[in-house]
């Protein structure tokens, strides 16, 4: 199709926008069923304990209690990754963090459910707990999971690419630095919520999930029900960011209670429970060693990471590999090696959070790179441009780079702040910093191995002139339903308003793997495009046959088909559908998307490959108060190469939101635990999500590199756009006051301490040497 776009690239109003601004949108917690019960979960008060026994008899006897469940009701292990199925719906045998789920009750109201929880007697044998990841690596006497062979090491990964030794050998300058990036958590404004209903031996679960398909599989496994007797529906969802990206205890607990009680059961987490559920950013201890030539060209990189995984596997093995695999861009690294370790500790499990796996190493590397540039007297922008990767290349670990707009991201973001005129020349206390980044557009492999499409869409055009897209993709607020409507509309030629989207319902929509790894626009977009093409082709063939013209001469615009007969005819879209329906029944199209085979031949090569990569560069301007240590971000310019902006305001919204999330975890958000393992700040008062007063207007720049395989050239924009913001801010702090901060989040106290150390002339962490 070589025609101008009708809708792509222009603002499209959100598919379900009116429902969301009028309060009509139904989120899971808004749903009610007749006879519905309230479910509540009893949680462990201990960080690590064996469960000797659980006595639920008093709770069961309480009037108004309809069901009580413990781990014994479904002792089947699950976990989002097949390599680490180490969780149970409710604890079996042991609890591993303060807040671990032990039992659940369903009662006629919340007060009764809470009273029932207080009547459950659990006999615990308290065990020593581990909170420090270094301790977890060596404590053989304390095993959080019996299966770990060495101490509490869940997994190690070591890979090497190219001749690393020779790379360091040819370097003129080598620098080593250590960094620590603390935990952050998703903090979506909608708490998790699930409503389960058992009827005729069939389970229906309405739930706030990013991954209906994976949840469907695990509900079937854990509840021991055939998959065709389980239905997962995702209603409107109030933000995920990775926190709703895997099967979670409340989804199983509500289902078990509904089965036991024979009544619908809804569990909605309190805000504190949302914090305990976590699955957020891994705390990561990191070491970098980089060799460069005199002119700043990188010759070799070695990286080490220690991931504090918390109590369960979650997405951790993938996080572990991503931490290493995603450092080979957006700069050309000719030789590279990494050693990564993930350990268990007695804290809530860490998992995937926006920008998954790459965020912490990106922070460290971009600051490390600025330090190298500073040591060599090279401008930070220049060292990045010098090493920037290009389109049509392969990284040393065999990642295939198709489209790449990294250079343009760097140049345009720098130009926007007048980098050359202003960097290093602002009054003391003010500074500019730049950083780059890149990210996957979906993983090349599914989470469980299978040869099927990663995303599927089915589209039907009916005689009312409406087009309906059926797709498993899960709109978590990012706007994937709007994207599907837009792609279908543009492909077929109708207006987006005439497209209805039915999504994320395992009974009625074909499988899409879910909203994670920034895969939806690329993969579901491609599947939807293929399905829409089929519909379009059927319609045009029918019209061409009816009117004796060639398909190539037909065009669908708005709600009409233009037929170049003489005199020309205009058919309504509905009339065209009827012509096709007469000839072949319902006008349906289906399409799927599978990434090309991308993984290298080495073990571990499955994590990192993606059909495309987004690129980005952020420039931050900060003001540092040297009296109080407070850092304010005055400007944050966020350039992001998203291939093509299908719906520019939605794309800008993703970039702006990601940049602010990065800003939050740089300066404000602390997800820490007190000595006995309790969460230090399980509320939105204490866990400081940025408010409107904490952030500037973000200045997004959308760079369009037109990916050859993306739908209309589009790539991801929701996750990669977080990566550069953290190091851009940290680098700007150096420009403002001359201190390097190797730990984030950055407190005012840390700034003051670094300023005092600088004044005293003490040596900082890390060092370089000329070779």
């Amino acid at each position: 199709m070589s025609r101008e776009f009708q809708w792509i690239g222009k603002p499209t109003v959100r598919y379900d926008g009116v429902a969301r601004v009028t309060g009509q949108a139904q989120y899971t917690d808004d749903l009610r069923l007749p006879g519905m019960l309230v479910g509540k979960i009893l949680r462990s008060p201990h960080a690590h304990a064996r469960i000797r026994s659980i006595d639920t008899s008093k709770a069961e006897a309480l009037p108004g209690v309809k069901a009580v469940a413990t781990g014994q009701d479904a002792p089947v292990a699950y976990g989002i990754l097949p390599v680490s199925e180490d969780e149970y719906a409710l604890a079996v045998g042991k609890v591993r963090f303060v807040g671990d789920e032990v039992a659940a009750v369903a009662a006629v109201d919340e007060a009764t459910a809470l009273r029932a929880l207080s009547l459950i007697v659990v006999d615990y044998e308290v065990l020593p707990a581990i909170f420090d990841p270094y301790e977890a690596m060596v404590r053989e006497d304390v095993k959080i999971h019996e299966e770990t062979r060495v101490a509490n090491i869940e997994r190690k990964a070591s890979l090497s690419f190219g001749d690393v030794e020779a790379g360091f050998g040819e370097a003129d300058y080598i620098r080593e630095d250590s960094f620590f990036k603390g935990a952050a958590t998703h903090a979506p404004i909608e708490p998790h919520s699930s409503l389960a209903h058992f009827q005729d031996g069939k389970l229906t679960l309405w739930t706030a999930t990013q991954v209906p398909h994976y949840l469907h599989r695990y509900l079937s496994k854990v509840l021991e029900l055939p998959q065709d007797r389980v239905r997962v529906i995702k209603p409107a969802l109030g933000g995920g960011f990775g926190g709703k990206g895997e099967p979670l205890p409340l989804e199983f607990a509500a289902s078990i209670l509904a089965r036991k009680s024979g009544r619908p059961v809804k569990i909605t987490y309190t805000r504190e429970e949302v914090f305990l559920t976590h699955r957020g950013r891994h705390p990561m201890h990191m070491k970098f060693k980089t060799g460069v030539k005199k002119d700043g060209r990188i010759t070799a990189l070695h990286f080490e990471s220690l991931l504090d995984g918390g109590s369960y596997g979650s997405y951790g093995v993938v996080t572990l590999y991503y931490s290493g695999q995603l450092l080979t861009g957006p700069y050309v690294i000719p030789a590279y090696s990494f050693d990564a370790v993930r350990v268990h500790t007695n804290k809530p499990p860490c998992g995937a959070q926006r920008g998954h796996g790459g965020v912490q190493p990106r922070y460290g590397f971009e600051v490390h790179l600025d330090r190298i540039a500073t040591d060599l007297g090279i401008d930070p922008l220049e060292i990045r441009l010098k090493n920037a990767m290009e389109s049509g290349t392969r990284t040393v670990n065999e990642l295939r780079i198709t489209s790449c707009g990294f250079r343009e991201c760097l140049e345009r973001s720098a130009r926007k702040v007048s980098w050359e005129e202003r960097r290093g020349k602002l009054p003391k206390g003010r500074g500019l910093g730049i950083a780059g980044g890149f990210y996957i557009c979906g993983a090349g492999l599914p989470i469980y191995f299978n040869p099927l499409h990663h995303s599927n869409a089915r589209i039907e055009a009916d005689r009312s002139g409406r087009v309906t897209v059926f797709c498993g993709a899960s709109d978590i607020g990012q706007g994937s339903d709007t994207m599907l409507a837009l792609v279908a509309a543009e492909t077929i030629g109708v207006s987006p308003e005439s497209v209805k989207v039915v999504s994320a319902d395992t009974d009625t929509t074909p499988v899409d793997l879910g909203s994670y790894s920034s895969r939806v626009t690329f993969m579901a977009g491609n599947a939807c495009h293929a399905a829409a093409l089929e519909v379009r082709n059927r319609l045009l063939a029918a019209v061409a046959e009816e009117h004796g013209v060639s398909v190539e001469d037909l065009e669908i615009r708005g709600q009409a088909v233009e037929v170049p007969t003489s005199p020309p005819k205009i058919l309504s879209f509905a009339e065209a559908v009827m012509l096709a329906e007469v000839r072949g029944g319902p006008v349906c199209g289906s399409g799927g998307y599978t990434p090309p085979i991308l993984a290298g031949k080495y073990r571990g090569a499955g994590v990192g490959p993606s059909p495309a990569y987004s690129f980005g560069a952020h420039v931050a301007e900060v003001e540092v108060d040297t009296e109080t240590g407070e850092v304010r971000v005055l400007r944050l310019v966020a350039a992001h190469d998203l291939g093509r902006a299908l719906n520019p305001p939605a794309a800008e919204g993703q970039v702006e939101g990601a940049a602010v999330m990065g800003l939050g975890e740089t300066l404000y958000e602390r997800n820490e635990f007190v000595k006995t393992g309790q969460h230090e700040s399980p509320s939105l008062l204490e866990y400081k999500v940025p408010t409107a007063l904490d952030v500037p207007d973000i200045e997004p720049i959308l760079v369009e590199s037109l990916d050859p395989e993306g739908p209309f050239g589009a790539k991801e924009c929701g996750e990669g756009s977080l990566h550069p913001s953290i190091p851009a801010i940290v680098n700007a702090i150096y420009d403002a006051v001359g201190i390097w901060l190797h730990e984030a989040p950055i407190s005012p106290e840390a700034v003051l301490k670094a300023l005092a150390a600088k004044k005293a002339g003490s040596r900082e962490q890390g060092a370089g040497s000329r070779t």
Binding site: G239, G477, E652, V660, A692
Partner: protein, 162 residues
Amino acid sequence: MNVVRFSLNGDPVEVGVRAGETLLQALRERFGLTGTKQGCDLGDCGACTVLLDGEPVLSCLVLAADAEGHSVVTIEGLSHGEELHPVQKAFLDEGAVQCGYCTPGMVLTATALLDANPDPTDVEIRRAISGNLCRCTGYTKIVCAVRRAAEASGAQGRDGES
């Protein structure tokens, strides 16, 4: 149970509430007005914001009984039939809505701001919405939407006068 009488979205209502029942619970559970969201139940997030006599309040911190004799407006009471309130329209047109969970509270807070101050500065807008957390948008488009609504209302007011 206490019987409470108040005006809800312009209509007189009478409802029985438990002692200690919050306005948020009464709105969601007794009236089925689920547009008012519960994000934290602690007064930290702003998702449950409603207008009490035109002022934004956190309905999770207001007892239902305290609504006695007052006027309550929820997100469901802001539009007139199909016609959106200018603030709702501006949020849509600017792309200021993502997941939408903060949106009802944010829209009502912005509405109260514009009622009191029809032409706010960006700082005034940010200060007004600083009690309403949004985790999706980064606030940039929300501030633009409030400004746009102010401009639209201003233009409407001027047209009305002429």
